[in-house]
């Protein structure tokens, strides 16, 4: 047996140098996901990684223009932009003709066209309790009759998809009218979400129970292979309608360069997209370096490798590698639980304590050391690129440990014999900072520890698995945490609602309930994106600071590196993926 094993050893060692298999003539794009996907039934998914794939498999009524900045809504399955009447309460969508679902056994070889009824079915699915959709909030409480249907389903345990409701009417085969309960100018954004990609009822019902692994949409690609949380292969959808690449580059030089390369090409150009899940950023980065990946999102901690300041290091530039650098439509913000017995409350000393803690946070250092410069200080709840943003907003909570300490001295948080501050009443004081188990969060813990040390306040760390952390947060059990929010759609409301009183136990993690604030907020809802609304937003933002509810800290910068043979890429702030708009220069691409 020994020499047998010896032979095996021999094989393995010989095998080392030879890699790769037979060359394929087709255009293949190799990508990596930083975290495992969660299945491809759009109604049930919420994470970006999955969305980026669904964006290619399914099509929503609307989408965002590839090149326009700030992001601009354009039709996708809709033939043109919807007509909106009576103060944004009635929306009429007209569908493109001759749009077909990707081939699937369920259709028994026939071509299946998309009709208005499919849209209705798709929208209804979000309210079906069985689907427990994470994104139903975009339609919940908005469409007339839909919520009643959901309520009925919750009672009967069965959702009646054949019900006719006033909110959703197919005026003809290709026309859909949506009636909303109240004014909502953001409904268009909802209809542009990848999760709202249109699905066919017969498919969903045929694969009931395992819809996650049978995505059938109208998108430019369809899923041909799926090794769960490891590998996904997309191939061009044979039934995809003829579309040509012509986006308006505006006057941005990069965009113009891209347009020059791509204009007139049919979409999509790339035949196959091979996606792997790579949790360890080190692995992803190394394999991009070796050309095994065509594009990679540069993890913060590796930025210094690729970037000098905010430019690509020369050795990569020389290789023709391109850097796309945009600031995410996201914010990282500290919040303090307003219902917490220790930190909560509106008495001056509590407010002072909270503001002191916020002022002790050194955002610049965090950006420099942890994010390696791949983030910017942003004190306003609405990040750049989102309607209502204000780059010039100035915070009252900027890093100022000295003032913070003064404030604490002033409000009676005297230092005890152990050098740590006590509550004004002399009882011990400790601040519990909650974070997850990831190594990234360990660095944040160190930041917070340093901040509290500056105030000589005792630091406690609470480490929770992500789900537990969410639960604690929703139940208002977290004391202080650095949380993040990324835009679902590029409108300020998507951010401001984070502090809306009624959203407590939902995503108002600071459990902040302030009638004054809530009234102001409610007024913003009735307004479209406009100067008036911005005035209100500024007051809301300032109030959060003055009362020591939250401190918006930073906005991340997204760095995407792409190999020289990847053509036509421009990072998009909202779209989770733009692969259909790319091309590959097979001449330069390495043979597989």
């Amino acid at each position: 047996m020994i020499n047998h094993m010896g032979r095996l050893l021999f094989i393995l060692l010989l095998a080392v140098p030879l890699t790769g298999v037979a060359a394929a003539p087709e255009k293949v794009l190799h990508l990596a996901l930083s975290a495992a996907e969660t299945g491809f039934d759009p109604v049930m998914t919420s994470d970006l990684n999955t969305a980026s794939i669904e964006q290619q498999l399914f099509e929503s009524l609307l989408t965002y223009d590839y090149l326009a900045r700030p992001a601009k809504l354009v039709p996708r399955l809709a033939a043109d932009m919807p007509t909106v009447t009576d103060h944004g309460r009635t929306w009429v969508f007209r569908l493109k003709h001759g749009v077909y679902f990707a081939p699937d056994p369920v259709f028994k070889g026939a071509k299946r066209e998309v009709v208005a009824q499919d849209v209705i079915y798709t929208l209804m699915r979000f309210m079906d309790p069985k689907n427990r959709s994470p994104y139903k909030f975009l339609v919940e409480g908005k469409i007339i009759g839909l919520d009643e249907l959901a309520a009925a389903a919750r009672r009967s345990g069965h959702f009646d998809y054949d019900a006719k409701i006033p909110g959703l009417e197919a005026l003809d085969r290709y026309t859909l009218r949506v009636r909303l309960k109240t004014t909502d100018y953001n409904f268009a954004h909802a209809m542009a979400q990848p999760m709202y990609g249109i699905v066919a009822r017969e498919v969903i019902e045929a694969y009931a129970g395992d819809t996650a692994s049978h995505p059938v949409g109208t998108g430019p690609y369809h899923l041909v292979r799926w090794v769960r949380s490891s590998r996904m292969v997309l191939e061009r959808n044979p039934y995809f309608r003829h579309e040509t690449w012509n986006f308006d580059p505006g006057n941005d030089p990069d965009s113009q360069h891209i347009a020059a390369l791509m204009r007139g090409k049919t979409i999509p150009q790339i035949d196959r997209i091979d996606i792997q899940v790579i949790e360890e950023p080190q692995s992803a980065w190394l394999s991009f370096g070796k050309g095994e990946l065509d594009m990679v999102g540069l993890a913060g901690q590796f930025a210094p490798l690729a970037l000098q300041g905010d430019h690509l290091r020369s050795k990569y530039a020389a290789r023709g590698i391109r850097l796309d650098r945009i600031s995410d439509p996201s914010i990282a913000y500290y919040f303090i639980n307003q219902q917490d017995p220790v930190l909560g409350g509106m008495s001056p000393e509590k407010i002072a304590l909270r503001r002191a803690i916020f002022m002790a946070q050194n955002d610049e250092e965090m950006i420099r050391v942890i994010h390696k410069g791949q983030a910017v200080r942003n004190a306003y709840p609405i990040p750049a690129g989102v309607a209502g943003a204000d780059p010039d907003y100035r915070s009252v909570l900027d890093y100022n440990p000295e003032l913070a300490n003064r404030l604490l001295d002033q409000t009676g948080y005297a230092r005890g014999p152990d050098g740590y501050r006590r509550m004004p009443d002399g009882s011990p004081l400790a601040v519990r900072y909650t974070s997850s188990l990831s190594s990234q969060d360990r660095e944040l813990d160190e930041m917070m520890k340093k901040a509290l040390d500056r105030l000589s306040i005792r630091f406690e760390s609470e480490k929770l698995k992500f789900p537990d952390m969410l639960r604690a947060e929703r139940q208002c059990r977290v004391q202080i945490r650095l949380s993040a929010w990324i835009a679902d759609y590029p409108d300020g409301d998507n951010f401001m609602q984070l502090w809306y009183g009624p959203h407590t136990h939902e995503n108002n993690a600071s459990c902040y309930q302030d009638p004054q604030w809530d009234r102001l907020y409610e007024r913003t809802l009735t307004l479209p994106d406009s100067p008036q609304r911005n005035v209100l937003y500024h007051q809301l933002a300032r109030m959060l600071e003055l009362k020591g509810v939250t401190k918006v800290s930073t906005t991340h910068i997204r760095n995407v590196l792409s190999q020289p043979w990847v053509l036509g890429f421009k990072a998009h702030p909202i779209l989770p993926s733009v692969w259909a708009y790319l091309d590959i220069d097979t001449a330069r691409a390495p043979r597989e």
Binding site: I2, M5, G6, L8, L9, I11, L12, A15, V16, P17, L18, T19, G20, V21, A36, E37, T38, G39, D41, M44, S46, P129, R132, S133, P134, Y135, K136, F137, G209, D210, T211, A212, R225, R228, S229, S230, R231, Q276, V277, I278, E279, E280, Q282, S283, A284, L286, S287, G289, K290, E292, K465, F466, P467, D468, R471, R474, D488, H505, E506, N507
Partner: protein
């Protein structure tokens, strides 16, 4: 006693152990396992949604009822669908087993082959400089953390020298075996081989000290034959069982390699499941591995009996 009776009795003895495993895991994870509803519900979830999800997952039922369901799942072998992705658990594990084994089996074969060879060699020259040198070397090898091996190995051999792909996995068996599995396997060996060498060396030394070896020599057999036939045949008994019983542990043990080299194996799946509180997968993993462990032990005993005529099935 006869084989059938032995098997029945051993299988019967597994029941209480299995029960212990089930209870332990069930209560630990129900108690502290976290509530998946909150991730599943998404960014804007409200308490009603949460409740709805909890209801759908059945985690709002009384504990004993959930336990009953668990037991039924074990009996039927159907653990339902993953909470995170609605995929049938059994399918998940089927797809995960291959890659895990792909790492596992070459590693085990290489490890055993080399370890046995080295062990025989050093035992033959026991006390010599070769012996001491090899032993010292193996000690140094196993004193470095696997994490370090992986980080450095991936950086140096895959990235700098480019001998191997940095990471990845394909659908092609041979491609995996000859391309993707190589570096992980070798790195795994770095830590796993030394302990076996040391262990097997003691096994061989024990046998070399036996009287029958003296007899064999007195018969005028060559030293080679004495080692390879008489000694090895006896030393093989503990070695084989040792290897066999080590297998199930390795099944989940390779998670570091799987994560760094993006190999869709079981260990990685379990970590993912724990992070997502994907209880069905956790339960299934526990039961499967526990079964594997106990069966491996049983198999080990049978093998022991088969290799060593002296042993009676007890």
């Amino acid at each position: 006693m006869n084989l059938g009776a032995f098997l029945i009795r051993r299988l019967w003895q597994m029941v209480p152990t299995m029960l212990g495993v089930v209870l332990l895991v069930f209560f630990l994870f129900n108690w502290v396992g976290g509530d998946p509803a909150y991730i599943l519900a998404g960014k804007m979830a409200n308490p009603a949604d949460i409740a709805n999800i909890r209801h759908q997952l059945g985690i709002d039922r009384p504990l004993w009822e959930q336990l009953l369901i668990f037991v039924r799942q074990i009996v039927t072998g159907d653990f339902g669908n993953s909470w995170a992705t609605q995929e049938p658990v059994s399918a998940i594990f089927r797809s995960r087993l291959g890659p895990s084994l792909m790492l596992l089996i070459p590693m085990m074969l290489l490890e055993t082959a080399t370890a046995v060879a080295v062990a025989l060699a050093v035992a033959a020259w026991r006390g010599s400089t070769l012996d001491r040198a090899l032993m010292a070397a193996s000690t140094v090898m196993m004193s470095i953390s696997l994490l370090v091996y992986i980080i450095v190995g991936q950086y140096v051999f895959a990235y700098l020298l480019g001998w191997f792909p940095v990471k990845g996995w394909s659908d092609d068996f041979w491609r995996n075996l000859t391309t993707y599995a190589v570096l992980p396997v070798l790195l795994g060996l770095m830590v796993s081989i030394a302990p076996s060498v040391r262990l097997y060396r003691t096994f061989v030394l024990d046998e070399i000290g036996q009287d029958y070896v003296r007899t064999a020599r007195a018969k005028g057999l060559s030293e080679v034959r004495v080692l390879l036939v008489h000694v090895l045949r006896n030393a093989a008994i503990p070695i084989v069982t040792n290897v066999l019983m080590g297998l199930p542990a390795l099944l989940t043990g390779a998670f570091l390699l799987e994560r760094f080299f993006a190999i869709p194996g079981i260990g990685r799946e379990i970590i993912l499941a724990v992070e997502r509180s994907d209880f069905p997968i956790i339960k299934a993993a526990t039961v499967y591995v526990a079964m594997a462990t106990m069966l491996a032990n049983l198999l080990g005993d049978l093998l022991y009996h088969w290799l060593d005529p002296r042993v009676h099935l007890e």
